[in-house]
Symmetry: C2
Subunit: 357 residues, 2 copies
């Protein structure tokens, strides 16, 4: 049966001050009146029923995830005691879904992305799931790049293996690390390189087999957890074993060296909403290009990203700034330097201002 | 006896979002842990006892003024039902102080200025009060200008009439309206022109006599109020008469045409703290010239004015901005355009965001 595994372990700081340790990006209502995790869940409607939706998160946010997804059984929301990167995460999920379903097929999804066309998204994911249910292998969904982005990995498309509905299933020719700008430009021009969005499909047992082959230590640790999962000691065993697991990404730990791997090129609008300026593309803008969320007013100002979670935010005579206001913390930074919010968070930690982290 | 009349009727918007309708500048703790009104009161310590301190304010802020000045008798805090400019204000005060003291001498002070040397301030005011107690006339204290300011009126010094302690009491040769920049430069160079800081001394009866001579309508209205002040109908009579009083300033309505007027040149550091950038001069600054108040952090940023009344305020990579954060409203504006906060307040009113005005 088809399961959805939502990876919700992120504790990113790129959306400070809206995001906090106990309220990471996936729990934020950044664009549409609902947390990104909720949007991710709702996007699966009709494809995967709530009882087969799984969320892998951490102890700080598990309760909040349960509140955001009341339809999902509490037992399906698993908390990693520590983050061990995505290979461990998808492996834990594979054991969890297999407990009651030996033929489980997993769709793996980040909790905090935005998709511009939910129907096309479901159609593509359904096709990918059908492909791996029938033929096995590990399948990645590749996003048509719209710019020479150096922040993502790329998937090189190989030959078309089969076609499911409107969706070709291709061999994954290569898995490419984040390129420099020159190579990124070449990839976009070439047309056969797609963005790796971290969206995957596989049978749980195929993933675990690949893990055993490529990452035997990780597989062995996860097998111990898997054996305990349905028993009374599950939490204790996870707490004991998980911290000792090797931390590696599913991309380079498993996908890159997988024996059978596929890529489905998809063309739905997609954003990983990686920064305040990236969020701006998803927000309504006034006629001077100020992207706005909440009660904000811009006078003689243009190109700003103005977000408030409560306070009225007024700017006059400034351009191309990110200004984010919350009741207890405010950030001002030029759009071009928005990645420096990480430095801000580090600095506030040095200052001991823990109450706003 | 010597009385102090603190003019606390201002409802200025120049310190939005820290200031609000019911919390104008004089009630704000902008620099030192106490509201400006409180600092103004404490500055009089040893010069005027609490029972001879009078505060003229309005209905929105009278209660708050009483809280800020618990030592001052409630009856000494008078609320104007509507603002009718400063001539009416000082006239009302003159009647109030005269009720119990026919020889009252008034020191008139704005509630919202900062003084850099309280002892020198008291010494100068004491000398001015002595002069008018002995010789009558209306006396203004003139501030040695430190820049060609076009936002203030100027007082031209005439001949020295007498000397009280270290303080010369001079004839007031002329009362000059706000000049253009060229004239302001000439005034500063000339050396005989002082800033009009709105600080005055006079016998109450001398002020009322000048008012009767120059502004008979105002004097008549105030006389009606004066007659009712100590009776049970005081509030009702003020409420009825005050709105009909002509609105004019003490400067041009009375001082400019006064028959006997004096100026005492004073040299204590003074600021009317007329804007966020003016406030910056009174705040501690970091080594890149960021003036700061509250929990603020500036990274790769210089020349900013960073004020918070609660939220943590973090700025990165921005220069010469005013950023003010409160729990329910945030302002960002270049220092050079700080006077536009008034436009912001007007705009928010248009938008109907009354909760933050």
């Amino acid at each position: 049966m088809l399961h959805a595994v939502i990876m919700a372990g992120g504790s990113g700081t790129r959306f400070w001050p809206a995001s906090r340790r106990d309220r990471p990006k996936q729990l934020l209502d950044l664009v549409s009146g609902a947390p990104l995790l909720r949007l991710t869940y709702e996007r699966l409607e009709g494809l995967v029923p709530p009882e087969r939706v799984w969320v892998i998160t951490n102890h700080s946010t598990a309760m909040a995830c349960r509140k955001v997804l009341p339809e999902v059984p509490d037992a399906n929301i698993l908390a990693e005691p520590v983050a061990r990167n995505t290979a461990a995460c998808v492996g834990l999920a594979a054991h969890a879904v297999s407990t009651g379903d030996g033929d489980a097929v997993c769709l793996v999804l980040p909790a905090d992305h935005l998709i511009g066309d939910d129907e096309r998204f479901r159609s593509a994911l359904s096709a990918g799931a059908d492909a791996v249910a029938r033929d096995g292998g590990l399948l990645a969904f590749g996003i048509q790049p719209t710019r020479p982005e150096t922040g993502y990995g790329y998937l090189e498309i190989g030959e078309v293996e089969t076609q499911i509905g409107r969706w070709p299933v291709c061999r994954l020719a290569a898995f490419v690390e984040k390129p420099d700008l020159e190579r990124a430009r070449a990839y976009v021009e070439n047309g056969r390189y797609l963005w790796n969005a971290g969206i995957f499909a596989w049978r749980a047992r195929d993933l675990l087999a690949e893990m055993e082959r490529q990452l035997p230590d990780l597989a062995a640790g996860l097998a111990r957890i898997g054996a305990a999962l349905s028993g009374p000691d599950a939490t204790a065993v996870i707490g004991e074993v998980y911290p000792s697991l090797p931390a590696t990404s599913v991309d380079f730990g498993i996908m890159e060296g997988a024996q059978r791997s596929w890529v489905v090129p998809v063309d739905f609008p997609w954003s990983d909403v990686g920064s305040w300026p990236a969020l701006a593309d998803e927000l309504p803008a006034d006629d001077r290009g100020n992207a706005k969320r909440g009660r904000t007013e811009a006078m003689d100002a243009s190109g700003n990203v103005l977000v408030t979670t409560g306070p009225v935010l007024a700017v006059v005579g400034v351009d191309d700034l990110v200004v984010v206001a919350t009741p207890d913390a405010v950030l001002v930074v030029p759009k071009q330097q928005a990645q420096r919010v990480k430095d801000v968070v580090d600095r506030l930690q040095e200052l001991g201002w823990e109450d706003v982290l």
